[in-house]
Amino acid sequence: MIEFIQQYGAALLRPLVIIGWIFVYKKNTKYTYLTSFSLKYFICFFLIFIIWNIFAFSFSSNVLVARLIFLFFWILISIYEFYYILKALFLSFNAEKKHNDIFVITLSVLAIPVILAAILCHTNKTYNPVNTTDFYNMILLMLGTVIVLKNLLSYESFMENIESFFIYSGFVLYFGLHILASNVIPFGFRQNWFFAQYATLISLIYWLGSVYFIWKIRSRLSS
């Protein structure tokens, strides 16, 4: 049972979470621009993972192809996460249009180590580059998400952005746990290879539980 949860828990929970969040998105129509953006891109974030999992299942018998698919989707999801958090950060500062050039430069700079790590991983047959880059990416993403959360909490209309709050607090949990997961070996947990899956699983449970709380809060506000 534990092995089943380790291997398939996150993959099975993702469709449930996406259904829950589509329900949240459809339930209310009056969103702020930030929350509307956050919800749409959050659902797309899960869609990429579901497509990734379908490919991973389909090509699981061929180790080489499975590894290439993994690296391709890892690049895709890493750049997507940077785009998502950066855009939310700029939106939360109301600086999206004013600093569009900075946004493009930052995203391009952040994409370079991600692509390079995947290439080095493939050519040198070692996971060191992707493990290292993912660790630094998670630090940057968590810092960005904390600032987005700080801006959200300082808004006067906090209750209008309640969905965004649950999304980004879940991301802090997700990135924080993945920082730990990137360091299982330096921390001495030689056998805990599934730490990253558990990190994802805990975050998914949080996001799934958030759907219920958002529904309850929205129901109370509307009554």
């Binding site: 700079v109 070692t126 996971y127 070996i185 330096p186």
Partner: protein
């Protein structure tokens, strides 16, 4: 955003990206335990590279020996406790 905030933001991004690139390139040839397994995000991890074998732990069932519940300071593993008892006799 103020100019100072933009400058700080870009500095953090550039410095961490530079660290990331430096660490990645310097570790690419390192043949250590971290290179065999992928610990990044993703639901299904790719298979370990065949050239390196996983070092097995000498402890047969270490899950039972270490306390992994909540709490800031964990009690010592049972194996240490047994060792102390033996030495005091």
């Amino acid at each position: 955003m103020k100019k100072k905030v933009v400058a700080l933001f870009l500095t953090v991004v550039f410095v961490l990206t530079a660290f990331s690139m430096y660490s990645m390139v310097s570790k690419v040839q390192a043949d250590n335990a971290a290179s065999i397994q992928c610990t990044t995000q993703g639901d299904f991890m790719p298979a370990p590279f065949e050239e390196v074998t996983v070092e097995k732990s000498s402890i047969s069932n270490n899950q039972d020996m270490f306390c992994s519940i909540q709490g800031d300071i964990m009690p010592p593993p049972f194996e240490d406790d047994e060792d102390t008892t033996t030495s005091t006799k």
